[in-house]
């Protein structure tokens, strides 16, 4: 998971190789707000969908992802923990649910009904994850930010602009902090922290200098934002819906309803 990219400083944590990819395709051009609505509608319909629609959606998804340049192999390595968990879900269901036994393993019986139920749950979760992946690959973080701000705006009491700003800071701070953490860890190692056995001591003397440093970075960041005239009432990212966006949205919703109805 700690993969390094050329030119990246040591210690940067890459949260995930599944992230935005530059592109000019139809999905990239689609308004982020519409993508969110379609994603939610499809995710909901997946929760209710039967085997036929799941298979259909899965084929569509896999085709789409490979078209977007996401190889099957990179997807499976990236999702390996989830896949193991889902396999576990499948096996637990198959072995614990009463029903017509397919085979027996010692005192456990693998039931057909259990296997079907387990497979259905696992497939649904996997599909929801894949749908999310498609959104992430085709949408710039700035557009996601703007769409979230747009959705939150009607809610009173939720400072939409501030939330958008905090999203941006969050994405900015992760690589910065991970480099600082790696440096602090090395500095402690250079001073022989490994010789200490008390784990609480080690944890404390790692976290305190690291957090001190990150706190002063946060302090300076807030001063610099003030110096650059920060205000919540600021120009946002432009989101413009075209006729095609509405068309895609309509198709998505109609399909979702169709799945839910059948």
């Amino acid at each position: 998971m700690h993969m390094r990219v050329a030119g990246e400083p040591a210690g940067v944590i890459r949260m995930s190789p599944i992230s935005y990819r530059l592109g000019t395709g139809a999905l990239h051009a689609l308004d982020a707000r519409f993508k969110f609505v379609i994603l939610i509608v499809l995710s909901l319909s997946v929760v209710k969908a039967g085997a036929l629609h799941l298979a259909l959606l899965a084929c569509g998804q896999i085709a789409l992802l490979s078209f977007l340049g996401c190889s099957f192999k990179s997807l499976t390595t990236e999702l390996r923990y989830l896949l193991v968990l889902l396999l576990l879900v499948f096996l637990v269901r198959a072995f614990t649910m009463p029903g017509e036994a397919v085979f027996r393993l010692y005192w456990l019986s693998f039931s057909r009904q259990g296997a079907a139920a387990g497979a259905l749950i696992a497939a649904r979760m996997l599909l929801v994850v894949l749908l999310g992946t498609t959104l992430v690959i085709t949408t710039r973080p700035a557009e996601i930010k703007a769409a979230v701000e747009w959705f939150l705006k009607p809610f009173p009491g939720l400072p939409a602009a501030r939330i958008g700003t905090m999203f941006g800071l969050l994405l900015r701070l992760i690589p910065l902090l991970s480099v600082q953490f790696a440096e602090t860890m090395d500095a402690q190692r250079a001073r022989g922290v490994e010789n200490r056995i008390n784990p609480v001591y080690r944890l404390t003397w790692l976290a305190i200098p690291f957090l001190r440093r990150s706190f002063s970075a946060a302090d300076r960041l807030s001063i610099a934002m003030e110096a650059r005239c920060y205000t919540d009432d600021r120009t946002g990212h432009r989101l413009t819906a075209t006729r095609r966006d509405w068309l895609v949205l309509a198709v998505g919703i109609v399909y979702g309803i169709f799945v839910l109805a059948t």
Binding site: G7, A142, L176, A224, C229, T231, T235, R238
Partner: protein
């Protein structure tokens, strides 16, 4: 015409230490001023008064004829601060979105924001990196990005706080080149440093600070010999004949 005027500026921190002790200073428009001094001499505190990040205990700060306290936003727009550590100034998750941060805060319309972003990136030579996340940039590139973020707000004064700290030679050269270009474009440039070497021959004026006061003020090559007394390294080039700059 003076763009920056400090009148008897005093600053005392909450813990009682005196940061600035009666500073009188006028900086004329379009000039390039270097402020030198040891750590704790008050250079950074002085810069922070220029755009209202600190409030004076006594005295007054005027930018382009108007007191900072009368309109802090105006002062912040007119005086761009490039902080010492670019990492704690860069807010955006990509290069372009960071440059857009300032203009968006000024509530410019989206088309104008885009125009300013691309102009600022063009001028510091980072156009090609617009979509990169900032943590992939080198030290010098980060500092130029911080500068672009300031330029996009359309300031008249650009103030750099220790711009040469922890940079390699290439980085220092690129910052010096930016400073020269800013000066030629008519900006007023203020640089704090305790390394005079890179700026000695291009600055118009050198101000030396100690313990919150201005102790020397003059033409750089003439007073550079004396900086050693105030915790600033005497530039090696100083021993050369003083008439080198003609």
């Amino acid at each position: 015409m003076n763009i920056v005027e400090l009148e008897n500026l005093k600053h005392q921190f909450p813990d009682g230490t005196v940061g600035l002790d009666g500073i009188r200073l006028s900086i004329s428009k379009g000039s390039f001023v270097v402020i030198a001094g040891s750590n704790g001499s008050g250079k950074t505190t002085l810069l922070r008064h220029l755009n209202g990040l600190l409030n004076p205990t006594a005295g007054i700060v005027r930018i382009d004829g108007m007191p900072v306290s009368a309109d802090v936003r105006r002062a912040r727009r007119k005086v761009g601060l490039v902080f010492q550590e670019p990492d704690s100034q860069i807010v955006g998750e990509t290069v372009a979105s960071d440059v857009a941060f300032g203009p968006q805060n000024l509530r410019l319309d989206p088309a104008e924001v885009d125009r300013r972003v691309s102009a600022a990136l063009e001028s510091v030579g980072l156009k090609a990196l617009a979509d990169k996340p900032p943590h992939l940039l080198s030290g010098g590139e980060k500092r130029r990005l911080a500068l672009a973020g300031i330029l996009a707000m359309g300031p008249s004064v650009v103030a750099f706080d220790e711009p040469f700290a922890s940079l390699d030679d290439t980085g220092v050269r690129s910052i010096v080149a930016e400073i020269c270009r800013l000066k030629n474009d008519g900006y007023t440039v203020i640089v704090t440093t305790h390394d005079l070497e890179p700026v000695l021959f291009i600055a118009d004026r050198l101000i030396v600070m100690q313990a919150g006061r201005i102790v020397r003020d003059g033409f750089p090559v003439q007073i550079a010999n004396e900086v050693g007394d105030f915790g600033v390294r005497k530039p090696c080039t100083c021993g050369w004949p003083a008439n080198r700059r003609e």
